[in-house]
Symmetry: C2
Subunit: 320 residues, 2 copies
């Protein structure tokens, strides 16, 4: 009997790294995660990772591993590197694909995590059959993956496209990137919390938020209160949606997607975020584009999209 | 002796239509222009255009016409149409390529004028050899042509990408598109004039502008005063550059060009516009992109870029 082809999808985060073996249909055959421990040297991380991969792989004797896809912060697709990743203490430029190739001779590709999510959406999610779309990952920050004519838009140097660092207000909130007023300081889980805190000071509406410690106020808490009709929480979502909708309209003007998919933790707010964002985006769209762009939730299972995206990256290359 | 291959490049504007016969090296062999008279029916325009084309073509017996490229406002590349063009009184959707094909059986293509300028820059101008770049046309409005991986970025429906209608200020200047605060109401010849008029009211600096009629104050007048050190004129350029630089930084974040070329009437201001725009763009760029994007003037001769762009559009397709 011939072996079934599978790939390995690896998602590297500042705290945890998860990976899974994925078949061409997008089924995760086996998966696990480990601590990234990025204060240790990257060589040590890759050794540990290889060890864990092989532990699981020996349990899959009827499968043939034919490629490895990796999603990581600040990954450069062209160079196979991770460069100056803030949450990974590995220094300037790490030849990550080179390190993996010491253990594996099969094809290896790396890209930024939002790009991986976009390829995942195209192969396994709601963007199947689409040639022009965007995926916006709304977590602590805001990541973006843009597909044009069926291919990821990398631009000149292979880095991710960064909708999250486009400008909302030059005098606005300080961003971890060093600039002020970036979109992700408003439209992200962390941005929503900041907006809610500001609203508590600016408005008089009663709200259970007023009785909470600062650290208790998370995007999840705000979402749950919004579901119950809390005015502060609803207005925090409304203001987030307005800014996000405005910048999505700009992104439509520049890249012409047929649909925009929201993924990541904050997208689990569903219609409370999606509906006003769609409305504001529509208001801000140039007349020729009005009514032409769908705003939808990602079709990838929450918590699986990072592994599936990394797997989709390498499947999309093996398919060529 | 074999005939030399040439194409016809046609630039359709609200007032005038110009066209020229162009060889593969970008030399205009012959050219002329005529009134568009767009209050007449489009069929009548095409009949007149055909007549004028043939008048000139009979003078070129040693050349072989192998394609027609057209640049026009609101042109749809995929459909070959001109749709709801504000300055062309031809109604909703005109099958312009279909009308031209009644007279010519050779390949015909149409696109928006800024897109044509971008292909012209790639074939005949300063973008030769580049795969990722943008062309910004600064005239009465602001047009944009974006090239990614060596191909024009059309997006889902074949319309132009409209950097000019991205948002600067939702409560800002009324735009002819119906929205408020679009970039082109600030960064264009008309936008510069508006900014100068505002500065006259807001500032106390003496300036010859204060002695002029409103209608005398053009972008050319402001440029000439800026060259002489007029504070109001210089500040008008500075504010224009700041807004343009900020939105160019956003566009870099989304599409990753190696260079951005300014063309159109306002770009003739040269360093007075270019230098501060480059500086502001650099300030607003996300750290990973800093220092990676050149801002330059178009390499196409002013006044020739529209015909050359339209010719380049069809040359680029004949080359495939």
């Amino acid at each position: 009997m011939s072996k079934m082809n599978i790939v390995l999808g690896i998602d590297i985060g500042g705290t945890n790294t998860s990976f899974g073996f994925v078949d061409r249909a997008g089924t995760i055959i086996a998966e696990t995660s480990m601590e990234t421990k990025s204060n240790d040297a990257v060589e040590y991380f890759v050794t540990r990772l290889h060890h864990r991969i092989e532990e699981i792989r020996t349990g899959l004797p009827s499968h043939h591993l034919c490629g490895i896809g990796i999603g990581a912060p600040n990954a450069n697709y062209y160079r196979g590197t991770i460069e100056k990743a803030v949450h990974l203490n590995w220094g300037g430029t790490v030849d990550f694909v080179g390190l993996i190739r010491k253990y594996y001779t099969i094809p290896v590709s790396i890209t930024n995590d939002a790009n991986a999510a976009a390829i995942g959406e195209m192969l396994f999610g709601n963007a199947r059959g689409m040639k022009n779309f965007m995926v916006i990952t709304l977590g602590t920050g805001l990541g973006s993956g843009i597909v044009v004519d069926g291919r990821l838009l990398y631009g000149n140097r292979g880095f991710a496209r960064e909708l999250g660092h486009t400008m909302v207000d030059p005098a606005g909130r300080r961003c971890r990137c060093g600039k002020k007023g970036c979109l992700e300081t408003y439209a992200s889980a962390a941005g929503l919390v900041k907006t809610a805190l500001l609203l508590i000071t600016e408005r008089c509406d009663p709200s259970p938020l007023r009785a909470m410690d600062f650290e208790e106020i998370t995007s999840k808490v705000i979402f749950e209160l919004a579901q119950k009709g809390d005015e502060i929480a609803l207005e925090a979502f409304n203001q987030t949606a307005k800014i996000l909708g405005m910048k999505l309209a700009d992104a439509v003007a520049l890249t012409g997607p047929e649909a925009i998919f929201l993924s990541g933790g904050l997208s689990m707010a569903g219609d409370i975020l999606l509906k006003p964002t769609q409305q504001y985006m529509e208001d801000f769209l140039f007349s020729a584009y009005k009514g032409s762009v769908k705003l939808m939730l990602s079709g990838m299972a929450p918590g699986k999209s990072a592994i599936l995206g990394a797997a989709a990256l390498i499947w999309s290359e093996l398919d060529l």
